[in-house]
């Protein structure tokens, strides 16, 4: 009798499953990007897939998305990749969002080259995909990209370097050294080219001299954006080139490297030159206020998230979201329509103003 009972339970369960299967063939309509001018319901699900919670920036972005999307009337699903299996997690999360019927998925990619399969699946299901901050590469199905203008970041760094040196010493020629970011990071080259766009004419004129003559991006690169890499390279430059010469300025692509460069120079007992940076890290803002690092770049996560939500709202209304760059961002498969936000250069002079809205940084500038 118990035999019969056991089997009945099993069969019952399986029959229940089988019942739910019946009745449907494949859904032929499936949206496939035909909905350009239609929009979708105002309370639709919007998926946001972000990298692991390794930096404050992403945690902040996640909170801003949750609140911002809710305020705008959407249902939001904000997910972070797990700490150890980031890429696989993010792939599964994006797929789950498509299954749940998200209308727009915003992706801050953990690895920008490993998501094209999921983006393709989303596209086929009629979901719009916005790459947030990091351009998803090798995907013909990516719809939009929203980020800060990284070329502009480089230009601002280059300009600040020139301004800073001029303020200290009215007449050139100025001795400078160049640093760039990790060679495997797409953005690193963009920052460097932006800076060289400003510096190159001055170098050609002889106004600015790169003491070590290392001007190629390959020579200046710091693998993995590692602080110790920048410190070691700066140590070597100081011994090889600046035994007696004076160093007036260093182009550093971000704050971490900038502080490492300053550490190296302090270690060699040299006067601190004009050093650039980027990211508005807490330590660097302190350093700027203390008069060591010269400048950093403020790329406010709040404005970036706000802009992304604006794009989602346009999609909801059935309009084409506003973009301001339709030619520079080629992801290897197509040129992606992009909205670029302007970064802001911050020096000691405008720090209080620039960080006025930032609850973490504002107190540091007082």
């Amino acid at each position: 009798m118990r035999n019969f009972l056991g089997k009945s339970v099993a069969i019952g369960a399986i029959a229940a499953l089988a019942l739910t299967a019946c009745g449907s063939g494949r859904d032929e309509e499936s949206g496939s990007s035909g909905g350009d001018a239609k929009g979708f319901a105002a309370n639709s699900l919007i998926g946001v897939a972000l990298p692991a919670k390794t930096s404050e920036n992403w945690v902040l972005a996640g909170d801003l998305f949750s609140n911002g999307l809710k305020e705008a009337g959407f249902t939001s699903d904000v997910q972070y990749a797990g700490a150890s299996t980031t890429v696989a997690d993010q792939q599964a999360q994006i797929t789950a969002m498509v299954t749940k019927g998200a209308k727009v998925i915003v992706i801050g990619a953990t690895d920008a080259a490993q998501l094209s399969t999921q983006v393709a699946a989303a596209h086929q299901a009629g979901v719009k995909v916005i790459a947030y901050d990091r351009l998803i590469t090798n995907s013909p199905d990516l719809d939009y990209y929203v980020a800060f203008d990284n070329f502009k970041v480089g230009q601002l760094q280059g300009q600040a370097l020139l301004d800073g040196m001029k303020a200290k010493k009215p007449n050139g020629p100025y001795n400078i050294e160049l640093f760039s970011g990790s060679p495997d990071d797409n953005n690193a080259g963009v920052f460097f080219n932006g800076a060289m766009d400003v510096l190159k004419p001055e170098i050609d004129k002889g106004n600015v001299v790169v003491g070590s003559k290392q001007v190629d991006v390959k020579q200046t690169a710091i693998q993995g954006w590692k602080a110790e890499g920048a410190q070691a390279r700066m140590d070597q430059l100081l011994t090889s080139t600046y035994g007696s010469k004076e160093l007036d300025g260093v182009l550093s692509p971000n704050d971490t490297l900038g502080r490492a460069i300053i550490t190296s120079i302090k270690g060699a007992n040299k006067p601190i030159p004009v050093v650039t940076g980027q990211d508005s890290e807490v330590e660097s803002v302190k350093s700027i206020i203390a008069g060591e690092q010269y400048m950093t770049i403020n790329k406010d996560t709040r404005t970036l998230v706000k802009q992304t939500i604006t794009m989602v709202k346009s999609l909801q209304a059935g309009e084409n979201p506003e973009v301001n760059d339709t030619k520079s961002y080629n992801n290897g498969s197509k040129v992606v329509e992009t909205y670029l936000l302007p970064p802001v250069a911050v020096t000691k002079a405008n720090a209080a103003e620039a960080y006025a809205n930032d609850p973490k940084l504002a107190p540091l500038t007082k």
Partner: protein, 432 residues
């Protein structure tokens, strides 16, 4: 005798050691039903089922090899790193030396074999514990991956991606379903029926009591029901999608390895070594060869899993393979393998892997964050094994085990230390 017993058991199995495996099938069904309700029917929707298989096929492939390693009394911590180094080498071979992709797959398997031979050598012939050898391998091959790849992400060509993100092609008339998947389901049904008939005939020939007709029919009805359900689901995905290629690779491997571990001398030797290596050696089992084989086989499967992941991700990246060993080991233990070795089945491990996969997927569909998902998965792993350990220490079977006891009535002989456990077609059945 054991063959008959196996056939008798092929619905849910029935030996003592099988209780947990049956329990896991039951748990899997329960979890699927639970999430089916909680997610308003998203869990069993065809696109989700397809995604579920695509996302987890590489972990389940690892679980096959890991089961054999664990049954033999070892462990392999290096699978994630081996998968990563095979992935980056294969991606590089196509990008830099423009190797055609079929050759690149062979190349990847060869890498797996070479690495496996290296680890097998230390384990089997030098006698270093597998835990240490593969811990070293984990560091060694992870470092190798970073060294070779320079922490870069290297894309792979379209053709190669088929093994990770491809589907059965659309052929034949428009039936509203993917015809190839339907054919596959039909073939599976036919195989099940054939097997059942075969078993009844064998029993008659041996003058044994054939199982009552209604049991056979019931068993067939359940299995065919599940197969039909699954193939209809997989066939009714969005046009262009169907049963994934990676799923087919997985099913083929499950069938082949189940046959190997259950029905061949080589496969039984693995259980013998894991159960009692001294006794096995004295009975003529070539201990070193068995140990060498399981370690080498694991690395080959790890390389395959790595390639499937790379194909699905369309690129090989520096983070590939992180934490995979833990997923594979968890699947094997949830699926009823014994930590001391000697006990466990391929199908059990696949069911264990699917329990974790459905749990993961269902929680994600509900929008639960990865932090909480990890907590829940950890608790499930602990509970699954703890319940089994507790029941054993109490000298009784689980509730589910006692429910299934009547199944065993005409299995000959006491079901004592026999490590053999049945039900090889289970993963395919339950997938629906």
């Amino acid at each position: 005798m054991s063959r008959i017993k196996d056939l008798q058991k092929n619905l849910f199995g029935g030996t003592t050691s099988n209780a947990r495996q049956f329990g896991m099938i039951f748990t899997l069904v329960a979890i699927v039903v639970l999430f089916q309700i909680l997610t308003d029917g998203l869990t069993l929707r065809s696109d989700n089922l397809i995604a579920l298989f695509q996302q987890n096929s590489y972990i389940l492939i690892l679980a096959i090899g890991m089961l054999m390693v664990i049954v033999a009394g070892h462990i392999d911590l290096s699978v994630g790193s081996v998968a990563a180094i095979a992935g980056i080498l294969v991606a590089k071979s196509m990008a830099d030396w423009s190797l055609p992709w079929p050759a690149a797959i062979v190349f990847g398997l060869v890498i797996g074999a070479v690495i496996g031979a290296w680890q097998g050598f230390w384990v089997a012939y030098v006698g270093v514990p597998a835990f240490i050898v593969t811990l070293a391998g984990m560091l060694l091959f992870r470092g190798g991956n970073q060294f070779i790849g320079n922490a870069n992400t290297i894309p792979v060509p379209e053709g190669f991606r088929v093994i990770g993100s491809g589907f059965l092609p659309e052929v034949g008339p428009n039936t509203g379903y993917n015809n190839m998947t339907l054919l596959l389901g039909l073939a599976a049904c036919a195989a099940v029926v054939w097997r059942e008939l075969q078993s009844r005939r064998t029993r008659r020939q041996m003058d044994a009591d054939a199982a009552p007709m209604w049991i056979s029919i019931l068993r067939l009805a359940v299995m065919i029901g599940v197969i039909v359900f699954a193939s209809l689901r997989f066939a009714s995905g969005r046009v262009g999608t169907s049963f994934p290629v990676s799923g087919i690779i997985l099913v083929a491997l499950v069938l082949a390895y189940s046959f190997y571990t259950r029905n061949t001398a080589g496969g039984r030797h693995i259980y013998a070594v894991g159960g009692n290596s001294r006794a096995a050696e004295l009975s003529g089992v070539k201990l070193k060869r068995v140990n060498f084989f399981v370690m080498m086989n694991m690395s080959v499967l790890a390389a395959l899993a790595g390639m499937i992941f790379v194909a699905r991700s369309a690129a090989s990246g520096p983070q590939d393979g992180n934490g995979w060993e833990l997923d594979a080991i968890a699947a094997v233990f949830i699926g009823g393998a014994a930590v001391a070795g000697g006990i466990g089945t391929i199908s059990g491990s696949i069911v264990g892997g699917l329990v974790m996969a459905v749990l993961n997927n269902g929680l994600q569909l509900m929008g639960v964050g990865t932090d909480r998902v990890q907590i829940i998965k950890g608790l499930v792993l602990l509970l699954a094994v703890a319940i089994d350990v507790y029941n054993k220490s109490q000298g009784r079977f689980s509730v589910i085990g006692s429910l299934t006891r009547p199944f065993r009535r005409d299995g000959s002989g006491p079901p004592t230390a026999s490590p053999k456990v049945g039900g090889d077609a289970a993963p395919v059945k339950v997938a629906g």
